[in-house]
């Protein structure tokens, strides 16, 4: 809301400096956003919160100033002259949609002479950046910016039969507004109609057909109260926002209609002449009147943390327009004014008294009691995971929780239930390349599709060594209108190879828990390469999946080169994470290392052979290290491979003798022979 310094002086003396005024206003709730000097005046831009529609007019702001500076407030008392002819003989108003129009008043002025409005009025409107039209329209605007009540002037000659019907629009009813745009209305919108057609979109904008023009002689002045929701919906659906709709959306003062109507008639008579007909048409419901509110003095200190003198309270409430003020030794009771519908409870009055007294008087160094806080295990686990992954050269990504359908369909390992859908899509979140892929309106069930897209973006931008991870929730539907399961997952995408990424995951797991070992099981997803993919487990707990992105999905996403993706369940990682490791004695005896070279069938998996070796070593095993796989059909025949490995043995209680080590080796060899038909080379 822009207010003019000069205009404010109409209602309150401004003896303070501009800077002092805007500081006080800021600190009492009207945040100063800037001031522009305009032609000897100052246009002061104040931010008005949505609960303070009363400050969307100069009088409201002046009232605040009067309360802050304890100075009198002057409000005009318009008493326009009327002639004996009665409006009720010429005009009628009927409200058929009380759910959208609460109250409607009309006055009629005959014989006006349309011309420019007075200079002083033009100057003030121009200070606010309001366009100048003529002495009638300008007067309605002036009064709106004076008291916050939107008004409208119709060319009475255009109102067929002088009959006004306030009704809801017909579905698809056509309407041409003053801005000369055509609108198609729906049945939730309120229109002002004459005996035939809509002549205004109630509370939003007048109609082109009935607007005041140079040839207008009789004007009908509307001052009405339209319901907040109806106006908001209409303005929003039609993308038609006006100073009028802005005010109705925020709830104007239903008790002020008559004042505003008289005030605008007075101004029109002054500048455009004409005769005001006797009486007012006033239909609809009576003004809403707030209930009294009681404020107990001790609540001020209890909520604000400062002592405010009791003597300050009642006069402040009075300055703010509250009436019927009564006090006893512990409280004050008062009725809020009609323009302050936000004051309904004790806490509201606490704020009123506090803000006028000054929040700057509230200290910022009181003794807040100490309290112990702790970091949940999930939090600490994520920190460790991030530590390992960044050490491994992975950067962290953050991608949107909603994704388009093709991505959602591409990979959903955690559930087969269809994703939840948002009624609104996310707009403007896709890169140019993916723009036409579909609406971004599905709640993702996996982080992987988003990460594949991130890999593509980086590939497109010629970025190298791209390794990224993300920790975020996925949304696994439970049932209609049930809050979905929302576990946090860890997603990875990397341009390294399968084993490099698997190694990162193995390192991650062993960092969280030194005794946990990752094993794999087969899996089958169309998004993952048939061979280079696996389910990842620790003992019997499923961690997630790893795999190379399949050709088809690479093609779908437009990814040119290979990428490895993985997705792990954070709860599973959290569960296995050991936060406080327990000391285990380290052996001070030397190790014995032995190398093996087995010829096995191609079908024998390392993991199986390794388990056999592990079992054969028993407690003496320090480590098993895979060395390499070697194939030579000439030496070993078809479908054979050599698996080379090293075993390190160590005893906790003595130096291992060569003989003891040899015993273990024999058992390794025989175990591998019997279980995997492995033949030792050499």
């Amino acid at each position: 809301m822009i207010v003019s310094w000069d205009w404010l002086t109409e209602y309150v003396d401004l003896k303070m400096s501009h800077d002092d005024l805007v500081d006080r206003l800021t600190m009492s709730g009207l945040n100063h956003e800037g001031t522009e000097p305009i032609d000897g005046d100052q246009a002061i831009d104040l931010e008005v919160t949505s609960n303070r529609a009363d400050c969307l007019g100069h009088i409201g702001v002046a009232r605040e100033i009067a309360a802050l500076y304890e100075t009198p407030l002057r409000i005009p008392n318009p008493q326009p002259q009327t002639i004996s002819a009665k409006i009720s003989d010429h005009c009628s108003v009927e409200i058929t949609s009380p759910e959208t129009c609460y109250r409607y008043t009309a006055r009629l002025i005959r014989g006006v002479k349309i011309g420019p409005s007075p200079d002083w009025m033009q100057r003030r409107l121009e200070s606010l950046g309001i366009g100048i039209v003529n002495n009638v329209v300008d007067a309605t605007n002036y009064v709106m910016f004076e008291c916050g009540q939107p008004l409208h002037a119709f060319d009475f000659a255009k109102i067929k039969e002088g009959k006004i019907r306030v009704r809801n629009s017909a579905q698809d009813e056509k309407f041409t507004a003053i801005d000369h745009h055509h609108y198609e209305l729906d049945s939730s919108m309120c229109v002002i109609a004459d005996a035939a057609d809509a002549i205004a979109l109630g509370g939003v904008m007048g109609g082109a057909d009935s607007e005041v023009s140079d040839s207008t002689t009789d004007v009908l002045i509307e001052a009405a109260y339209f319901e907040q929701l109806a106006i908001r919906n209409a303005a929003r659906k039609l993308k038609l926002h006006s100073p009028s709709s802005f005010r109705f959306e925020r709830n104007v003062d239903s008790a002020q209609l008559d004042w505003a109507s008289r005030r605008v008639c007075e101004l029109i008579l002054e500048s455009a002449g004409g005769e005001l007909l006797e009486g007012v048409i006033d239909v609809g419901q009576s003004p809403r009147t707030p209930d009294p509110v009681k404020l107990r003095y001790h609540q001020l200190e209890r909520l604000l943390g400062i002592q405010i003198p009791e003597a300050f309270v009642a006069p402040t409430l009075e300055k703010l327009g509250l009436t019927n003020i009564s006090t006893d030794e512990s409280s004050v009771t008062a009725t809020p004014p009609s323009w302050r519908k936000d004051l309904t409870r004790e806490a509201d009055l606490v704020e009123e008294v506090g803000r006028i007294y000054g929040f700057d008087k509230i200290p910022d160094n009181v003794n807040v009691p100490m309290a112990a806080s702790y970091r949940p295990k999930a939090d600490r686990t994520i920190d460790r995971i991030r530590g390992v992954l960044t050490a491994a050269g992975f950067d962290e990504a953050v991608t949107t929780s909603l994704i388009p359908q093709p991505w959602s369909d591409a990979f959903s390992p955690w559930t087969e239930t269809p994703p939840m859908m948002s009624s609104q899509p996310m707009l403007g979140v896709l890169e140019e390349y993916s723009k036409n892929i579909g609406a971004v309106n599905l709640l993702r069930r996996s982080l992987v599709p988003s990460l594949i897209e991130v890999a593509r973006i980086n590939e497109y931008r010629s970025n190298v060594d791209v390794n990224l991870f993300e920790t975020a929730k996925v949304y696994l539907p439970q049932g209609e209108n049930e809050i979905p399961d929302q576990p946090t997952k860890l997603g990875l995408v990397s341009r390294r190879d399968y084993f490099a990424v698997k190694g990162v995951i193995e390192t991650l797991v062993s960092t969280l828990n030194s005794s946990a070992r990752v094993s794999v099981a087969p899996c089958s997803f169309s998004a993952l390469d048939a061979s280079r993919s696996a389910e990842l487990l620790v003992a019997d707990t499923r961690l997630g999946w790893i795999g190379q992105v399949s050709q088809s999905v690479r093609k779908q996403f437009g990814l040119r080169s290979d990428a490895i993706v993985a997705e792990l369940d954070l709860a599973a990682l959290e569960k296995l994470a050991v936060m406080i490791p327990v000391y285990a004695a380290t052996s001070s005896f030397p190790t014995v290392s032995r190398d093996f070279n087995f010829i096995v069938d191609n079908a024998v998996r390392w993991g199986e052979l390794e388990s056999t070796v592990r079992a054969a070593c028993g407690e003496l095993l320090e480590s098993i290290e895979y060395r390499e796989t070697f194939r030579d059909e000439n030496k070993d025949g078809p479908n054979k491979k050599r698996l080379l490995l090293s075993v390190v043995l160590r005893s906790a209680t003595a130096t291992l003798t060569g003989q003891e080590a040899d015993e273990i080796c024999k058992s390794i060899i025989s175990g591998c022979e019997s279980k995997h038909s492995a033949a030792l080379v050499g």
């Binding site: 600190m27 929701l229 803000r355 200290p363 910022d364 992954l389 899509p425 080379v681």
Partner: protein, 367 residues
């Protein structure tokens, strides 16, 4: 090198060196002492690098040095004296070595032999490795969480898909409030069902539009005193531009106890700002409006000569306390919330919010 064809072998094998004639321990010690004396003297009198190197070869040479030759006599020392002989040998070796190093420092200024290798180029790049970076949003969140943790606030988590009750109703946001407009929220339905009327259901689901929902969930399940901080993603269907994105992050603090006041709030915000910005930063609060707090305030901090908006805050509205079953006559509390993106962008001078979510690694690696 890994051996491909050898069967397992012990990793360490060393043959003992045996000598033919026996030597009494006394004789061995005497020879060592004498060697030590001659070697240290030679090193002490060396006058330049060449003469020092000559002496080094004579006494410490790896193949024919005198120490090496004497060491071979170890084998001739009788078994029962071996341990003593070994200890003496080590001591003398150390003495000679130290004398050499002293001379080296004296003559070569400590550069040792390294300076002599003309092929070694110490300016070649090291074998560096790339450490990944945490997302700037995560870094900001971690810092804020840390600060709040020091002030006694424990992190709390809540669902991102919420119901109307927790996102609005319990927060004193009535159905008529503009924040609840279906066009301003990501209301949900199950994709496969054709029922698009879910927004009309009693308690429809939506992507949470604020982290205040976590407050409600915590208060529903906990009795005061409460001191939590909730962080995470929130969603509003804004059109994307340089300062708007339909997904962003918030941090929200809540403290409820008996006698929690606006002064406590201002104090905590002051500590928070001072902690975050690393100075004694003035904080002011000014009246504002939020449905879930009364009084509501906007907090600013004074930084670089001007007041900068910090975030919204206030005393928890009695309706909110009632909605979770607290008695507003007994308990009071404050809450405050900040947008993470704004803080992060100001901190790192990031000019477009979309950069945060494009995940170009050249961007991510800057932080």
């Amino acid at each position: 090198m890994f051996m491909t064809d050898g069967l397992y072998q012990p990793s360490l094998t060393r043959q003992p060196i045996m000598s033919a004639t026996a030597m009494p321990i006394e004789e061995f010690v005497k020879q060592l002492d004498e060697l030590a004396h001659r070697a240290t003297t030679a090193f002490e009198v060396a006058t330049d690098a060449d003469s020092l190197d000559e002496a080094r070869v004579q006494f410490l040479g790896a193949k024919r040095g005198e120490f090496k030759s004497l060491q071979k006599n170890m084998g001739a020392v009788p078994g029962e004296s071996k341990k003593e002989a070994g200890m003496k040998l080590n001591a003398v070796k150390k003495t000679i070595q130290l004398a050499f190093e002293d001379a080296q420092v004296r003559l070569l200024g400590g550069a040792g032999e390294a300076a002599k290798d003309p092929e070694f180029d110490p300016t070649l790049p090291g074998h560096s490795f790339r450490v990944g970076k945490l997302h700037p949003i995560t870094q900001t969140i971690n810092e804020l969480k840390d600060i709040m943790g020091r002030l006694g606030f424990t992190p709390a988590e809540g669902p991102e898909v919420e119901d109307d009750h927790h996102n609005f109703e319990a927060l004193n946001i009535p159905r008529s409030h503009p924040a609840r407009d279906p066009l301003d929220n990501f209301y949900l339905s199950v994709a496969q069902s054709q029922n698009n009327d879910s927004t009309l259901a009693d308690n429809p689901l939506l992507m949470r539009s604020q982290t205040s929902t976590v407050q409600i969930r915590v208060m529903e399940n906990t009795e005061p005193p409460i001191r939590i901080v909730s962080l995470g993603r929130v969603y509003r269907p804004d059109e994307t531009d340089a300062t708007h994105y339909p997904m962003f992050h918030q941090i929200e603090g809540l403290m409820v106890d008996q006698n929690v006041t606006l002064a406590d709030l201002k104090t905590v915000l002051h500590l928070f700002a001072t902690n975050y910005l690393g100075n004694d930063v003035p904080v002011r609060i000014r009246p504002s409006f939020f449905p879930f707090t009364e009084p509501s305030v906007e907090a600013d901090y004074f930084w670089n000569g001007k007041w900068v908006e910090f975030g919204g805050a206030g005393i928890v509205d009695p309706n909110v306390l009632r909605s979770v079953g607290y008695d507003p006559e007994k308990y009071s509390g404050f809450a405050f919330g900040l947008g993470i993106e704004r803080l992060c962008m100001i901190r790192h001078q990031i000019t477009d919010i979309r950069y945060l979510f494009t995940n170009d690694v050249r961007f991510l690696r800057q932080f």
